[in-house]
């Protein structure tokens, strides 16, 4: 075994692992300081840089042949996910001064990195579970409200069901092909056999559950609402990214044909429509974000209708734009002692007159999530729908676009509350702390870069 290659090509993973160990040690030694945040920032940022360097160096290594490989595109996706995690860490201080939060977060990130390099089903499964398990705890960590426990349990049960479905599908594939390589999945996509079809459907459904696609979405609103703001942001951006990147890895560049394409289009289409409709009547900001994320999961799964080579690019670009905007909105959310009050839409009423900066940031995020140009959300959506249409699924593309129209109302309603209503006199706003503000500034700068130079960003992917 080439130890040098193992040391360098897995550097992002190693750094995360080292971070986990150090954070646990600090936790045991109970150093009373901000060390936990600083250390996790350091390790995650270092891992992000390492992944980016691997990507730009063009590292293309089969480290553990058949199980774990490092490819430039996957490394870049790792770098993007880890960079989003850095922003997330910056906005976490308000809710998590110290404690278990940080090692759990890093473990989950390790899982995302692992699944991005997975070549075999056991590795992929390991990555997915490593990504998901800490989150069940993270949801519970915000145990300030009884809803958190309910949310965590619901998430746990449905997550378990998803894993079971996935393993069932994999075992059928193994029975059919005798191989554990993930390429058997893309091979089974076009295969006619009943066994292969059932296996593919089971695996796709397991990802529908994880990605909160209607009708498997019911855990998402509760989990998003029950968790604390950074954990909601984590689920909405990085977990969603992990799930979709795993799907992208499975599908590879094989074209999806009917009738599988219909399965891949119809449920996401329903998600787009239902997510956008249900979001209209939410009174809780995080619940609204949850329904919005259900709709966005729909757009993301649409990407797999598109032709092979553009698929990974479209998914990563979308996840980048979508992640930045979700982080921007949640990082700018005005603070409040009572988490339940903070979450209420009323808390945003007249925000522009209390905290213009936060209001502008949330407004930008809302316009972008609604897909209104020239914000990055539009370009991401354009990329996906252009690919779908280029692949010949014109009807689905048009229906999806019309579904996205339904979303405009509730995003703009947030803007209306912030800008067009007088502030309610009773609300006391605490200006968000400097770290959270710097997180939102980083999001803004990154989003501006993506919006002004989309060609450059797409060229990188």
């Amino acid at each position: 075994m080439n130890w040098h290659a193992v040391a360098t090509a897995m550097l992002p993973e190693h750094l995360l692992l080292a971070g986990i160990v150090v954070l646990l040690a600090v936790e045991i030694a109970s150093v009373k300081s901000r060390a936990a945040l600083a250390l996790s920032l350091l390790f995650v940022a270092a891992a992000a840089v390492a992944a980016a360097l691997l990507a730009f160096a063009g590292a293309d290594i089969d480290l553990f042949p058949g199980h774990f490989s490092v490819r430039p595109a996957a490394s870049l996706a790792k770098a993007i996910v880890l960079a989003l995690a850095v922003i997330l860490l910056l906005m976490s201080r308000d809710d998590f001064e110290r404690g278990e939060y940080y090692p759990l977060l890093l473990s989950s990130l390790y899982g995302v990195c692992l699944l991005l390099s997975a070549d075999s089903f056991p590795t992929l499964f390991l990555g997915i579970e490593l990504m998901s398990l800490p989150v069940y705890v993270l949801v519970l960590l915000a145990f300030r409200r009884p809803e958190s426990a309910e949310a965590a349990l619901k998430y746990l049960v449905l997550g378990g069901a998803a894993s079971a479905t996935f393993v069932m599908g994999v075992s059928l594939l193994y029975g059919e092909s005798g191989s554990m390589a993930i390429s058997t999945f893309s091979g089974a996509l076009g295969a006619p056999g009943a066994l292969a079809t059932v296996a593919v459907v089971l695996i796709v459904v397991s990802f529908f559950i994880k990605g909160a696609i209607v009708p498997f979405h019911t855990w998402a609103p509760d989990a998003y609402e029950g968790a604390s703001v950074p954990v909601t942001a984590y689920m909405a951006t990085i977990i969603k990214a992990g799930v979709l990147l795993a799907v992208a890895r499975l599908f590879g560049t094989v074209p999806v044909l009917r009738p599988m394409a219909d399965l891949l289009a119809i449920l996401p289409l329903i998600s787009i429509i239902w997510g956008n409709l249900a979001a209209m009547r939410q009174q809780s900001f995080r619940r609204m974000i949850a329904y919005s994320s259900i709709a966005h999961a729909g757009y993301l799964f649409y990407a797999f209708l598109g032709d092979g080579p553009g698929r990974f690019q479209a998914v990563v670009f979308y996840l980048l734009a979508y992640g930045l905007m979700n982080l921007l909105a949640l990082a700018s959310l005005p603070r409040h002692e009572d988490d339940a009050v903070r979450d209420r839409m009323d808390n945003l009423t007249g925000l522009y007159h209390r905290d213009p900066y936060a209001a502008l940031m949330i407004a930008i995020a809302m316009f972008s999530l609604a897909g209104i140009p020239p914000l990055p959300g539009f370009i991401a959506k354009f990329l996906i729908f252009a690919n779908v249409m280029a692949a010949g699924y014109t009807t689905y593309a048009v229906l999806g676009l019309v579904g996205s129209y339904l979303g405009i109302y509730f995003y703009l309603r947030v803007v209306q509350l912030m800008f067009m209503s007088a502030p309610t006199p009773v609300t006391i706003t605490h200006a968000s702390r400097r770290l959270a503000r710097s997180a939102s500034l980083i999001c803004l700068v990154a989003a501006t870069l993506v919006a002004v130079f989309p060609g450059w960003v797409i060229g990188l992917l």
Binding site: Y352, P356, P374, F385, M389, G455
Partner: protein, 511 residues
């Protein structure tokens, strides 16, 4: 080369204006107003220089900038002036300073945000006019929605939330189908030519079968017809106009509505010529219905802002009629009518805003005999009214006359060959002129003459207001008395448009 750089500066100056505004501290509201005015004036001067430099004898784009923007999709940052947009760019930059100056006293709340939004919409409108790449055009086209949503929603009247959501939901619905059509068009072109390109010049060469053309035109037309607005899609306009602050109404009537007719002229019709000729009777009928119906509705309104709002529907119907006539005079008349309506409607909305600031009501019945107490106001109002009616020597006459002439020119040969619909429609459009005179003069009569009646005893216009209105009146007479120069500058574009729409492009026919 220098002029191309200047054109980019004209486009990007509003963004610089926003950056400057951010530097002004909150309490200095007057400095924000003057700063915005200065930036807008600078922009107008630069645009005027470009207008003078614009060569009427040259075909195609002038002062062009073309930079690769998203190479993977063949998207370019491509802007330039041509006969299609040169007058509209000048109109937009001309109205910019007037919008800012007209809001000096009307906007007291969130002054900084207001001027930032005016800059933003100015940027988006200019971008949409200048863009020569369909992707870029769509970007700017949609981006206009954000500042307008905020302008109506924050500084509007009582029912502003309803009005602004109605505006956004109407326009966004049109745009989303247009987006689908844009993507389809580009990939259909890619399938035949092999290259992905959003450049309008390339898209004009697309050769699509008639059914596809018809569907795509329907998608584009829906979006443009909502913006114009044309008859069954006009219901957002009165609400938006009535609730919008004066500045919002001026931008809306002055420039934003022309976006729709410009879209038809630059994209809708030339991209899908065969479908256009197929649908011409229906579109023409809708245009004439808009003329008559808008005029009839204007006749019965008792809110003065609504009268002008409905008159806009009527006046833009002429633009559509002229574009659809495919007669050179008619097309040129349509272009002049766009500018003329931009000037008169903007002026009238500004004047309504001025009286509203003084008396706080828009009820027509609350006013009477203003000529006796507000002589200067009344003179300006009368001039604008007559321009809207189309009195010779004003710009309204040039536009409407040419459009009708074009409509008859085009209808007569068709009548002789047995098709009478165009002639009937042209005659009906002339009826619209009479109705137009009727509602505007009724408005002016009960507003300016008769028994003196006003909620308060208002002061006459101050110097700022006089300057604004004088600028508009000069523009109206300039366009009415010397239409020759602007018509020369747009003639080649009108011919190009005519050529594009007349030529058959569906495959299976002779090239």
């Amino acid at each position: 080369m220098a002029d191309a750089a200047l054109l980019n500066i004209v486009l990007l100056l509003p963004l610089a204006g926003i950056a400057l505004l951010l530097a002004v501290r909150a309490p200095h509201e007057d400095s924000m107003r003057w700063l915005s005015l200065a930036v807008m004036l600078a922009q107008f001067v630069m645009a005027a220089v470009l207008y003078v430099h614009f060569d009427a004898a040259a075909t195609g784009l002038q002062f062009e900038t073309r930079l690769a923007w998203i190479p993977a999709w063949g998207v370019h940052y491509q802007i330039g002036l041509d006969g299609y947009n040169v007058l509209l760019v000048l109109l937009t930059t001309f109205l910019g300073p007037l919008v800012v100056a007209g809001s000096f006293s009307a906007i007291q709340k969130d002054v900084k945000l207001f001027h930032a939004m005016v800059f933003l919409i100015q940027f988006a409108m200019l971008g949409a006019f200048l863009a020569q790449d369909l992707f870029l055009f769509y970007l700017f086209w949609e981006a206009m929605m954000i500042p307008m949503f905020l302008i109506i929603g924050i500084w509007g009247g009582e029912r502003r939330i309803y009005a602004t959501f109605k505006f956004v939901l109407y326009t966004a619905f049109g745009s989303i189908l247009m987006l689908a059509a844009v993507i389809y068009l580009v990939y259909a072109l890619q399938a035949t030519s092999g290259a992905t390109s959003f450049a309008m010049a390339d898209l004009y060469k697309s050769r699509l079968p008639l059914p596809v053309q018809t569907l795509l035109l329907a998608a584009f037309a829906l979006s443009f017809a909502i913006k114009v607005p044309m008859f069954p899609l006009h219901t957002w306009l009165p609400d938006a106009h009535v609730e919008a602050p004066t500045a919002g109404s001026v931008i809306l009537a002055g420039v934003l509505l022309k976006m729709g007719t410009y879209g038809f002229m630059k994209l809708g019709f030339p991209l899908f010529p065969d479908a256009t000729r197929l649908l011409t009777p229906i579109l023409m009928m809708l245009a004439v219905i808009s003329i008559i119906y808008g005029a009839c509705l204007a006749l019965v309104q008792d809110d003065i802002k609504k009268i002008i709002a409905y008159s806009s529907i009527s006046h833009l119907g002429y633009v559509m009629l002229g574009l659809l006539s495919l007669d050179l005079l008619g097309i040129q008349g349509a272009v002049i009518q766009m500018v003329s309506h931009g000037l008169t409607a903007a002026g009238l909305f500004l004047m309504v805003g001025m009286i509203y600031e003084r008396c706080h009501t828009r009820e027509l019945a609350a006013y009477g005999g203003l000529a006796k107490i507000l002589p200067v106001y009344s003179v300006f109002f009368m001039i604008l009214t007559l321009a809207a009616v189309g009195l010779p020597t004003t710009s309204g006459f040039t536009g409407e006359f040419l459009v009708l002439l074009g409509a008859f020119n085009a209808a007569w040969p068709q009548f002789q060959s047995g098709t009478s619909l165009p002639l009937v429609l042209a005659v009906a459009a002339v009826g619209g002129v009479v109705l137009g005179a009727l509602y505007m003069l009724r408005f002016a009569q009960s507003f300016l003459f008769g028994v003196v009646k006003a909620p308060h005893l208002p002061m006459d216009l101050n110097l700022r207001e006089k300057t604004i209105l004088a600028a508009i009146v000069i523009g109206i007479f300039a366009l009415g008395l010397f239409p020759d120069e602007p018509m020369r500058k747009t003639e080649l574009a009108a011919k190009a448009y005519q050529q594009l729409v007349v030529t058959q492009r569906a495959p299976g026919s002779m090239p």
